[in-house]
Amino acid sequence: MSTAAGLDQVDDDSRRHALPERLLEEAARWRVQLDDPALPRETHQAFERWRCRHPDHAQAWQAINAIWDATAGASRPGAREALERTFEEEQGDARRWLGRGAGLLLILLVLMPLAWIVSGIPSPAHLLADHHTAVGEIRTVELPDGSRMVLNTATAVDVRFDDDQRRIRLHHGEIHITVAPDSRRPLEVVTDHGRARALGTRFGVRRVESGNTAITRVTVQHSRVELCPAGGDHCRELRQGQQADTDGRHVTEPVTVDPEASAAWTTGRLVADDVPVTDVLRELARYRRGFLHIDDTGLAGMRVSGVIPLHDTDRALKALESTLPLRARRYTPWVIRVSGES
């Protein structure tokens, strides 16, 4: 039963009999007393005596306790903050909210993660990586051996080159590498899920994270790459135009992709060839700070082809809005919901 319905239920109970306020106050005081986990036994017994003294006591208790339980049922992350914010806005006195020391700690706890989103930096650890990009940023880095590495949005990597090996650790995001030939020192890109070893080439490595699952996806633009899972030795060799994923245990069967389209992001473009618009929106969301909600149901079956600029996702969204029957509702600059036009 939803909480709204739960409150309706309470509603019905309270209709039956208008209890005197004095009794309701007594019941409420008991309810609050009993909330104390270290309640002495005697207090509990005193409560039971009070409740049994008169049917009205029992009824008042029931009415008050129902509210106590039903309101707890409305508990959701962000629910209290949303209610508080709404009340404060309605009172038209936002300054008092921040000025009072009381709620300040709680407010900070809410605002700090928001600050990370707004700053475009995925996490504090991100800043400690050798190379990193913010959300929406695409950057090229020349490596000491002459290899060229492009970091896609919200990416963090560590680079470890020594006499024997060239190793790049991808912590977050996506990179594309044009490897400088060096037969003595192989170049490897390592993630939690596996490692991709270049056999002299151009290729991309991306950590794909959705919900609780994460994998590493490797796409080869030129020549060959060997992909091995972190916890296994069943490696696969990927050829030009092939793409495969690893979850740490297995490597999937390679699929064929357009090698140039899959690396188009390195030049700030997204190339779509008759793909679901939801896929395009999910890609755009990677380049945006904040939260882009996609209405999968309302947008089902809508497909799109074209070249979409990644450096200005607001413009990209407007372009999609003007060519397709969809609507982007802006709540704030960083909360947008895209849905089908009804």
Binding site: S2, D11, A28, R76, G78, L83, T86, G103
Partner: protein, 174 residues
């Protein structure tokens, strides 16, 4: 979703609609500056009139209609605020947990928040905040006392006051 309303209400609503719909539309347009939204609110107003539990002799029909329409506009802006505030607060949570709510879940949650907000209307700040911390965030009374800068026995007083207030609000709406 009309469950064949009693004919007294239906006839009364028809008369109200015939005589005042156009006027109400103009009144709403003036306030909203948007013909589509004015039409929506006018429609909702008459729906409210039609589905109210008991017919009441309407003495001043235009005052009656604008009172309903005003209530609807207030509720609407509260819903929009709740939804926006929740999405913002929730964005932080989602960044950590990666679970995006569906529009249906959002709508249901806003219904719930609206129901809670209606119960708390008119309650002073501190009791309201104490109550929300206790019920929605499950905070122990000692933590609430610290957060509000008051004693635990004061928090107990706030919580009891809020419970009675909610009960009376429910009773009034019934």
């Amino acid at each position: 979703m009309f469950h064949s309303p009693p004919s007294a209400i239906r006839l009364e609503t028809e008369a109200l609609y015939r005589d005042h719909h156009r006027w109400l539309l103009g009144w709403l347009r003036l306030r909203l500056g948007c013909p589509e939204r004015a039409a929506d609110f006018a429609h909702d107003t008459f729906y409210r009139v039609l589905t109210r539990p008991q017919p009441s002799r309407v003495g001043r029909p235009r005052a009656f209609l604008t009172r309903i329409a005003t209530r609807l506009m207030i509720d609407d802006s509260r819903r929009a605020r709740l939804e926006r505030a929740w999405l913002e607060a929730h964005a932080a949570f989602m960044e950590e947990h990666g679970a995006a709510p569906s529009p249906e879940e959002i709508a249901e949650l806003v219904d719930t928040l609206e129901a809670v907000a209606r119960l708390l209307d008119g309650l002073p700040d501190k009791p309201r905040r104490a109550f929300l911390m206790s019920r929605l965030d499950g905070m122990p009374q000692a933590d609430i006392a610290r957060a509000l800068g008051v004693t635990v026995s004061m928090v107990k007083k706030y919580l009891a006051q809020a419970l009675v207030h909610c009960h009376l609000a429910l009773r009034e709406s019934a």
